[in-house]
């Protein structure tokens, strides 16, 4: 629409400053994690443009709003136009700017930006976009001529023992992971992208997360999940480039050239049976994890980050089963959040872990790990997987480019 275009031009006019600043971070574009992203609370901004999308290896923020969309048009051009507009909006929002005019536009027109983030700092907002299997092939229908470009690694996840997935919490053609230190900033971002997308995409499901459960900055203490435990203490660090290249970033050699520098996201809504867990003895709780609840040290280790003497842990403990050494060195980058969506109508807390993991190939990483865990993990008594999604997150956006350009450009 013309009106919107006008405001967009205005927007790019002034946000150019931010974009230039992002580019000035220079080397940061090569290794995003080295850029100055500010600490929680300082409200800094994370560079939007770069070799990799932010929101993967960059430091984990406190809050999440994750949304999965269905594409509701078969018109590829409209989809591309929307991704371009999303990119312009993403650059503005992550810089702490409204997208277009939030107040002071034409009085007859609704404001471009919904306005609830006005006056708030960028809060390290990152927006990470991914493409689901159904974008490439929806029940045999190749809506956008992308079927042949579907990466082999972008599989339909198999059924795992114990899965109780609901369709309206699973799947989707496109996902956006919005992370920020202020929930209002993350919600604002998803709300405005959804609004821009009306007619092209429709929200299929979305999830709010309030407490990060993993860290990509190993000097920090590992946050606790809703079980009250630290988990994923040996997460891949955002500055461990060798590990990122080996386990997280897809390579052109992997098959799909357009995914080089991208990563595969697996999301699982894992409901925890909070009430039964809370009635469980400390010993059993610790046995389930194979670590102490207080310090977070594994059985047989002294401190949280000490090496884990696997043999000292119960055979069915979560830490032992999920440990790289039990899985031929397989690692994933975890970036999950706790969630509580009120109660479930039976008076039970509807809470758990919104698990997010990034990896180079879900077939050899998440699927292998989850098959192992779903079969034998003692923790399964207390959790149930109720939502699921897998998405191919393309590489980072270059200035002047757009999300998914290598695929759709």
């Amino acid at each position: 629409m013309t009106g919107q275009r006008v405001s967009r031009r205005r927007l790019l006019g002034y946000s150019g400053v931010t974009l230039a600043a992002g580019a000035a971070a220079g080397a940061g574009l090569v290794s995003v994690a080295e850029a100055d992203e500010g600490d929680p609370g300082t409200g800094g901004s994370v560079p939007f443009f770069g070799a990799h999308q932010s929101g993967i290896a960059t430091p984990v923020q406190d809050r999440l709003h994750f949304a999965s969309f269905d594409v509701v048009t078969d018109d590829r051009d409209r989809l591309v136009r929307m991704l371009k507009e999303w990119t312009a909006a993403g650059a503005a929002l992550t810089g702490g700017h409204p997208y277009g005019s939030a107040a002071g536009g034409l009085p007859e027109a609704p404001p471009d930006d919904t306005g609830e983030a006005l006056g708030l700092p960028p809060a390290r907002l990152t927006l990470t976009v991914g493409f689901g299997p159904t974008l490439f092939d929806k029940s045999g229908k190749d809506r956008f001529g992308l079927k042949a470009r579907r990466p082999a690694a972008l599989i339909d996840l198999p059924h795992f023992p114990g899965d109780n997935l609901t369709a309206d919490r699973s799947g989707g053609d496109i996902c956006v992971q919005a992370c920020a230190d202020d929930p209002q900033v993350a919600v604002h971002a998803i709300r405005n992208l959804a609004r821009i997308g009306f007619g092209v995409v429709a929200v299929r499901w979305s999830q709010l997360g309030f407490g990060k459960t993993s860290s990509t900055t190993p000097d920090q203490q590992t946050p606790r999940n809703m079980f009250g435990f630290k988990d994923g203490t040996r997460n891949i660090s955002g500055d461990d480039h060798a590990a990122l290249d080996r386990h997280v970033w897809a390579s052109a050699k992997d098959g799909a050239a357009w995914m080089a520098g991208g990563s595969y996201l697996v999301a699982r809504r894992i409901r925890m049976h909070i009430e039964t867990w809370d009635r469980t003895s400390l010993k059993e709780q610790q046995d389930v994890f194979g670590r102490m609840k207080g310090e977070g040290n594994a059985y047989g280790a002294k401190q949280e980050h000490d090496p884990v003497p696997l043999g000292r842990l119960p055979a069915d403990s979560h830490v032992r089963l999920a440990h790289p050494d039990s899985n031929g060195g397989v690692r994933i980058l975890r970036r999950g959040y706790s969630f509580t969506d009120g109660s479930d109508g039976l008076g039970r807390l509807d809470a758990g872990l919104f698990f997010i993991a990034y990896q180079r190939d879900p077939r050899t990483q998440f699927v292998a790990l989850q098959n192992r865990l779903a079969g034998t993990d003692h923790m399964n008594e207390y959790v149930e997987h109720v939502g699921s999604g897998v998405f191919a997150c393309p590489p980072g956006v270059q200035k002047g480019g757009f999300w998914g350009q290598a695929l759709l450009g």
């Binding site: 629409m1 013309t2 009106g3 919107q4 269905d70 509701v72 034409l106 009085p107 007859e108 027109a109 609704p110 309206d168 609004r195 009306f198 007619g199 429709a202």
Partner: protein
């Protein structure tokens, strides 16, 4: 309709009507660029910083220096509310922008938000630039359409009322939804007469203790829920009386191109908030018929404005054309006989599909008024 909505909507409609009435003339007038006119409200006074102004967009900057919550109303020469702003707390202020034609207005402050209070007159003179004649044509054609729709709804409501009074429940049930269709196509215009809408279209959930409930939905409940028509005769008569009042008044409605556009958007809002959820016709489940009426009314307004929109924003025009076609196509899936399937048979996934399409149309439709006003 729903009353919480009524005030908001009515306010919005009236603002838009007035914006419309000056549409095409407001952009460049001196008044439009004038500084805001200060209004100081107290619990007992209403001081307006100017006695007159030029036609066009006018901004009142109101400050509440009293101890009670206040409300600012801009009243047209005929006494109708052109714009209002409620809930101005003590010590706070706000701005109200409204487009005014030549005439003598009243600026009223109402401490305690009773709708009454001290006022001052405000005289508007002059005229903005000449309106686009195509917009005048669109408004004229829309007036005819609105008149026809009101006639249609009145005629069908009479048949419906007759069946109700005869105690013919089967006949009345079949006639209920068709009798509402014309009303639903033109609801924003009807709502601009603030008193008719609550009389004919109030839902049970909108009532507060002590309210008298009249109108279609009162009879709807008697037909589908309590299944007794013995007390319904007076309600049937009242419905016809109120619709006859609408018919008399509708010719005097202030309609402009902008108010048509805003009305179209509001019709989609009605769909999005009331019909998609099945709240509108909670006993009869004839929501899809009302849905169709709302969409048809919005589409009519758009099509009449389309020649101008196409020129001012071709992309918007194409998008709206496509989305209207998609909604209409989707609705055909649910056709049954002369009407639609009962909404309680429409599943969650199908309702979501309808909701997604309403959003897909509603978003570009919200840009129509600005495109017309440009």
């Amino acid at each position: 309709m729903r009353p919480a909505h009524l005030f908001a909507t009515t306010g919005a409609v009236l603002i838009s009507l007035s914006v419309l009435s000056a549409c095409g003339k407001d952009d460049d007038t001196a008044a439009g660029k004038d500084a805001a006119i200060k209004v100081t409200a107290t619990d007992s006074s209403c001081e307006v910083g100017a006695k007159s102004g030029a036609a066009g967009a006018t901004t009142f900057k109101v400050t509440n220096k009293g101890s009670q919550v206040n409300e600012l109303e801009v009243l047209a020469p005929d006494g109708k509310i052109v714009s209002e702003r409620e809930n101005i707390g003590p010590g706070t202020g706000t701005e109200v922008t409204v487009t005014l034609n030549a005439g003598t207005y009243k600026i009223l402050c109402s401490a305690g938000m009773t709708g009454k209070g001290p006022s001052q007159t405000f005289t508007v003179t002059g005229q903005g630039k000449a309106a686009d004649p195509r917009l005048d044509q669109a408004v004229a054609a829309y007036r005819i359409y609105v008149g026809e729709q009101v006639d249609d709804t009145l005629a069908k409501a009479k048949t419906f009322a007759a069946s109700v009074k005869k105690g013919d429940a089967a006949g009345a049930k079949a006639e209920f939804a068709p009798s509402r269709l014309g009303w639903e196509t033109t609801e924003p215009v009807a709502e601009s007469f603030g008193d008719i809408d609550p009389k004919v279209d109030l839902r049970e959930a909108d009532l507060k203790k002590g309210d008298t409930w009249t109108g279609w939905h009162q009879i709807e409940k008697a037909l589908w829920k309590t299944k007794s028509l013995k007390d319904e005769g007076p309600y049937a008569d009242q419905l016809i009386k109120d619709l006859e009042t609408l018919k008399v008044r509708v010719g005097t409605a202030s309609i402009t191109a902008t108010s048509m556009a805003n009305g179209a958007k509001e019709l989609l809002d009605e769909v999005a908030t009331g019909k998609i959820t099945g709240e509108e016709d909670t006993f009869s489940h004839t929501d899809l018929s009302d849905f169709k009426g709302n969409v048809d009314g919005a589409q009519k307004a758009f099509e009449l404005l389309k020649p101008v929109v196409q020129e001012k924003d071709a992309e918007l025009s194409t998008e709206l054309t496509d989305e209207f076609a998609k909604v209409q196509k989707l609705l055909t899936k649910y056709e049954k006989g002369d009407g639609y399937v009962s909404y309680d048979t429409v599943g969650k996934a199908e309702r979501k599909e309808l909701s997604d399409e309403v959003n897909a149309l509603g978003e570009p439709l919200s840009k129509l008024a600005a495109a017309v006003a440009k």
